[in-house]
Structures are given as structure tokens and as C-alpha cells.
Subunit: 403 residues, 2 copies
């Protein structure tokens, strides 16, 4: 494979080049696209596990998040990028706070991201105004970086935390600025019941009724989607970010309706969710968990086969984020990885895709190239020691302040 | 921690020793005990995934197994031991074929194992006699090695593949030779329905009625156990080997009744199952999957918390196999591991046990000590390159012969 600039220009035998990488004993694959995470929540990894969602948020996460600073968001995002690079992810779709600082981290780490400032107004007009200002500022600042790897987006948290007028305003802002739209949809049964009560509609039906659904919307989770909503997603071109690890860990109550989405032609991609609800930003693990969860839930060992799940993590993700990537083809973005095959869990080599989905983890990744540039080689990433030290220290202080 | 011979003799600050290991930045933990696997099935890893259990066995696994030779079992077991060492497992409970050759592999690799010759007579008297002879020979040969790390066992496959007289004969053999007893119990609903039809009883009730249950029995899976059978297991001292990854991948239909077993006081341990139905012999992954599966199945994020699952994988496993191991205590066997904490997924360090269960994989293991001897240091295991080459070649030939 030959790369010129940031594109794959030829697939063929070795020829002269400025940089040559020896891939003997390794598999060349598209980098993974993680379509739902909260990168800087790496700072909360392991801080509050095995708790119910509501007490987890109110007793642990929100008080700590209230103390979050731009510098913390920057280092938390650096740590997340480091972990994602080391497990073969070249693009991610993020929603969190201080996103201009997150953008600086992504810029330095060399991978690709769609960054949305998490928007929560809790139906207060004053807060809505303040939040709209924050989103606008984040988009302005990120745009002014003019980094082709980094795309600003709008990120209304969910229908139970964002008012209708704010959702409409964010839709207008996304249209005006040509931005993607990132939102949690129907993660829990409670969310669906709440929407029926408050809006007389299920979350996706409500979002469609107020005109915010469209081709560049990524709907995270979508666990409790009904048939009619799935049809709406297909019609509107909404992509789903399926987060199997998070859904199981937080006990959302069922498996998302994968088969129905596939039948309807909805783009399904995979996300890790944040490190507080997973706690590992490894797309290999999310692939295996997706394959296993749907087999278990459907009572059939043949559903969600390896090739299908691998496709969700690569092509599906690229489609969801509108990236010209996700496969090794001439003309595509050079977002690729090399996976080491000389490992016990990758032996024997009866079936590469089976080994990738069911046996590998991110530790099998040897080399990562994003936008035509090497960001990891031989598992070495520039700045790793400093990132671990700084992020570890910041996380300890952030949480220590809570006690 | 100080080790003398094969035991932990002191827990305290460094002092003079023949061998000193620097554990700075690492966590000292008990090695994992994998209580259900078919080690040499590493040769079939990725060979036939995403298939229904019965067609998988009859079209793929059985024809290939018919061509298995002692040499293949030896190399397949070497590969499994290598993978288990590299993911922190120091003891495993195995059931497969040519177990005297598997024993040679375990002897060389330096870890601990309970080895049972897989016994299937399909209710044919001739075959039963032949199988009993094989089991007796395996026990004799393994015993004659006089390796304190290796314990021979009896391994009747299941109630639907082994006759009552053979089950009774194996119980007598286990008593006579003081051997553990390893059997699959109630893995699928079909197995339970079959037992009701054939024996008028559920599998565990039937096994108890014919007198084979007792303190050194490990019952793999036990997914469909009913309340009365759980009480029987508790009364008889039967330990369960829970295999969450395999259960989900093969879609066994429900989560095993963990809470009921815990209430009844049944010893619950963790197994990976074989590489054909998992496909990774990594106890870290099995811990996470256990924690997630039970949260998902019970609709509660608080069940199967990290500490409980970690205990199943260490103390529970040691209890199941009757090993004086599973914790770092003076007098216990020196079966311990060092886990590297300077890694992105282990940062920050709010909670070590949460990080181990939810964020780590076997790749975090740096050093493995079994029976007081170092079997891995700095992730280097003696003979790795040869094992990967030989096992890979043998597996390709074994399966190539099928087409």
C-alpha cells in the first residue's frame, strides 16, 4: 500500500518511498472509528463502578465534573487519545466539556475527531443561553484551528436534559456551520417513558417531529428504539452508535434492536462510551461484546457474525461520521493500522476476521497511521510517559477534592 | 513478599534472596485459576465461529478431532499454556484428549493443571470399556510423572454423552485414585430437557441420585441449574466453573443463576472454556464478561461487583481445584503475578480492583511465578517463537486435511 499526503494512492508491491514500514507478519487494516465516547472521562476510570446510574451521576460524577478545568479536560483527552491509538482507533466522536482544549489534545496526538461541546440546559432559559454561547465558542475556536482532522459538532445531551427550543437552536447552528449532530437517544426505558409523558412521543419520534433528525446525526445507544423510530432513522439517514459494553455495565435492560436496524438499512457503528462506563476505550473489546451480546440476546450463535461486527467498527463508523475512510481502498484517507499476528491469541490463523473480533485486543496493534502520518510504531507513542504521569496526578486531585 | 521453595513465607520489605524481582510500579496479585478449559482446542481457534452448536460440532470440530494426534495435543496445550501464562493464569482445569501428552506440555511450561481425559461413550458398552482404559492409562502416566503441579482427574463429558455405569465407574476410579471429577452440567436447555426425558430428572439431580457428586467435583457451566440442584451442589460441596464468554458466544439461553448460588454458598469460580468457543484464554476478559453479563441479565448495575468477580477468578478457583493458593498470604503456594500499572488503561489509579476487572486485559501482566518459579518476566516466556510456529503449522495441517 502506498500513501501520498493523507490518501491511499496505490495498493501493490513495495516501491521507493520517503518512509517505508515493514509489515511482515502483520495485517494491514483500516483504523477503527469509535462513534461515541466522552474522552476526558478517562480521569474518572474506576472512580465509581458497580453503582446505579442515577446515584453514580449525582453522588460521584457531577460533583467531580463541577471541579473540572480546561487543563483537566486537555489531559484527560490526551490520555484517551493515547489509549485509543494504542488499541487501533484512528477517529472518534466525542461529547464533553471544554472542547477547544480537547481539540488541542487531539491536534497534538495526531488522530481524527468530531468534537461536540456537551449541551445540557435542564429546561432553564438562562442556562440554555449560556450553553448556546459555549457551543458557539467551541465551534468557532475549533474551526479557527483549521485542522482537517478535527471537526466541531453540536452535542445536545438527550431529550430529558435539553429543551425543545435548544434542540431547534442547535439544529439551526449545525445547519449554518455545516456541523454534525451528536445526541444520546433511548439509552434507558426510563428515558422513553419520560419522553412519552413530557412530549407524548418516544424520543426519536419527538426529535423527528421537531425537525432535528438528518444525515449527519449520530444517535448514541438507541437501545429502546421502536420499529417506527427505526424506520425514521433509516429515512432520515441517522446513524446509530451502538455501545455494547456500556449498555451491559449500566444494565440498560435489553440489547439494542440490531437485526431490525439492519433490515431497515440504518447505519450501525460502534462506540466504547466513556471510560467511566466501560472502562476501556478498546474497539476490539467492543466488537467482541457486540458479537456476544446479540448472540446471547437473540438466543442464536449465528447472529452478529465476526465480519459484520468488524464492518460496523470500520466502514459503519466512517459512514456515521461522514469520513472517507473505514476501508483499505485507493483514494481513501490513509487511516490504517498494522496488527501483529505473531502472538499466542492470534495463532493459528484459520480466519483473520474471527481472530480479530474474538481473540485480539488492542494490544495486538503495532502501528497506527492517521491522515497519512505515523502516530504509533512498535507500540511507541510520543509523550506516553508524560501523559500517564500528568493525567494520573490530575485525576487523583480532581477526585481527592470530593472527599 | 518472600518465597522459599514453592511457598510464600513472609510478606514484608525487601531482604537478601537468591532471586530478587523489582516490582516498582506493579501490583502483586494471586495468579488466576481457570477452572474450565479444553487447552489443546487452541488449534481450532477461529476455525468455525458463528455457527449453531450442533452443526459446529458435527460438521467441523468432530471430523477435525478425529485426526488429532498426541503430538498435536501436546503443541495445542503448549500454545494454551503460553497464552494463559501471558495473561496471568497460573492454574487451569483441563478436559481433552491424549492428556499424558498435555501433561508433558504443562510440565515444560511450568504452570499448574488438573488434567482429565475427556470421556464420551455415547452409551455403547464397548466404547465405555475402551474409554475407561484410556482414563486409567492417562491417570497412571500422569501420576508416574510425580510432578506436584500436575494432578490427574476423571472427565466424563456430560450426562447426555456418558452412560450411568461409566459415570459410576469414574466416580469409583476417582475415589480409588483420590482424583478430582470434572464434568459439564446443564450448559443448555436441551441438555436439561434430555435428562428429564432419559432419566426423569434434571442433570444435577440425576448425578446426585447415582452418587457421583462430592467435594472435588467441578461442574462446568451450570447455566440451567434449578433451586433444588443449587442446594444439592452446596450440600455436596460441588464447585461451579462459570464460563460467561462461552455461554454468550454459544447462546446458551440465559445467565447462570449466580445470585442463587452465592446465597446457597456454592463455590463459584471462572473458566474461559476452550479457544474454539471463546476464543481467548484470558481470565481478565472472563472477569469483565462475568461482571457485565450478570448486571445485564439482572437489570442492575450493582450486581457482580468487581471485588466479587476478582475473588471468583482467584480464591474461588483455588477452592474449586483444592489448591492452597488464590491469595497472597504466608503459607500459600507462590502462584503470583505482577501487573504493570504504567499503562493508559490502568491510569488513573482510583481503584485497583475496578481497573483489573473493567479496564485491564492479560497484556497488563508483566511477570508470572508458579510454584515459586518464574515462568514469565518482562512478558518473555521461554520457547514462545517455537510454540507459535509449531502450533500454527500443526493447526493448519489438521484443518487443511478436512477440506
Amino acid at each position: 500500500m502506498h500513501v501520498d499526503g493523507n490518501r491511499i494512492v496505490e495498493i501493490g508491491p513495495p516501491r521507493e518511498a520517503d518512509v517505508t514500514i515493514d509489515a511482515l507478519g502483520k495485517a494491514l487494516l483500516p483504523g477503527f472509528v469509535n462513534t461515541h465516547t466522552h474522552a476526558a472521562m478517562t480521569l474518572f476510570r474506576g472512580y465509581a463502578d458497580d453503582m446505579e446510574l442515577q446515584s453514580w451521576l449525582s453522588a460521584k460524577i457531577w460533583p467531580a465534573e463541577a471541579r473540572l478545568t480546561p487543563d483537566m479536560a486537555y489531559w484527560g483527552t490526551k490520555l484517551a487519545c493515547l489509549e485509543m491509538i494504542k488499541s487501533g482507533t484512528t477517529s472518534f466522536n466525542d461529547m464533553y466539556f471544554f472542547m477547544d482544549h480537547a481539540a488541542r489534545a487531539v491536534d497534538e496526538m495526531g488522530i481524527r475527531a468530531v468534537l461536540s461541546e456537551g449541551f445540557i440546559d435542564l429546561f432553564h432559559e438562562d442556562r440554555a443561553e449560556e450553553e448556546l454561547r459555549k457551543t458557539r465558542t467551541a465551534i468557532d475556536r475549533i474551526s479557527s484551528m483549521r485542522n482537517p482532522r478535527i471537526t466541531p459538532a453540536v452535542g445536545p445531551h438527550a431529550v430529558y436534559t435539553v429543551s425543545e427550543s435548544s434542540l431547534r437552536a442547535l439544529r439551526a447552528m449545525a445547519d449554518e456551520r455545516a456541523c454534525p449532530f451528536h445526541i444520546h437517544v433511548s439509552e434507558t426505558k426510563g428515558e422513553v417513558e419520560g419522553a412519552r409523558k413530557d412530549h407524548g412521543k418516544t424520543p426519536a419520534a419527538y426529535l423527528d417531529a421537531i425537525g432535528v433528525l438528518g444525515p449527519r446525526v449520530v444517535a448514541a445507544h438507541s437501545v429502546w428504539l421502536e420499529e417506527a423510530e427505526i424506520a425514521t432513522f433509516a429515512r432520515r439517514g441517522v446513524a446509530v452508535a451502538h455501545c455494547p459494553v456500556s449498555n451491559m455495565k449500566l444494565a440498560v435492560g435489553r440489547a439494542m434492536p440490531l437485526a431490525a436496524m439492519q433490515r431497515a438499512g440504518v447505519t450501525v457503528s460502534l462506540g466504547t462510551d466513556g471510560a467511566a462506563s466501560n472502562n476501556r476505550l478498546d474497539m476490539f473489546e467492543s466488537m467482541k461484546m457486540a458479537a456476544l451480546l446479540h448472540k446471547f440476546a437473540a438466543d442464536s450463535a449465528t447472529v452478529a457474525p465476526a465480519a459484520e461486527v468488524f464492518d460496523m467498527a470500520t466502514r459503519g463508523g466512517a459512514r456515521a461520521l461522514g469520513l472517507d475512510a473505514g476501508s483499505i481502498e485507493v483514494g481513501k484517507l490513509a487511516d490504517v493500522i498494522l496488527v501483529d499476528l505473531h502472538r499466542p491469541e492470534m495463532t493459528p490463523s484459520h480466519n483473520l476476521v474471527s481472530n480479530l473480533v474474538y481473540a485480539a485486543t488492542g494490544d495486538c496493534v503495532d502501528t497506527v497511521i492517521c491522515d497519512g502520518r505515523v502516530v504509533m510504531e512498535g507500540r511507541r507513542v510520543r509523550g506516553e510517559i508524560e501523559i500517564l504521569a500528568k493525567a494520573g496526578e490530575i485525576a487523583a486531585n480532581l477526585v481527592g477534592g470530593a472527599s
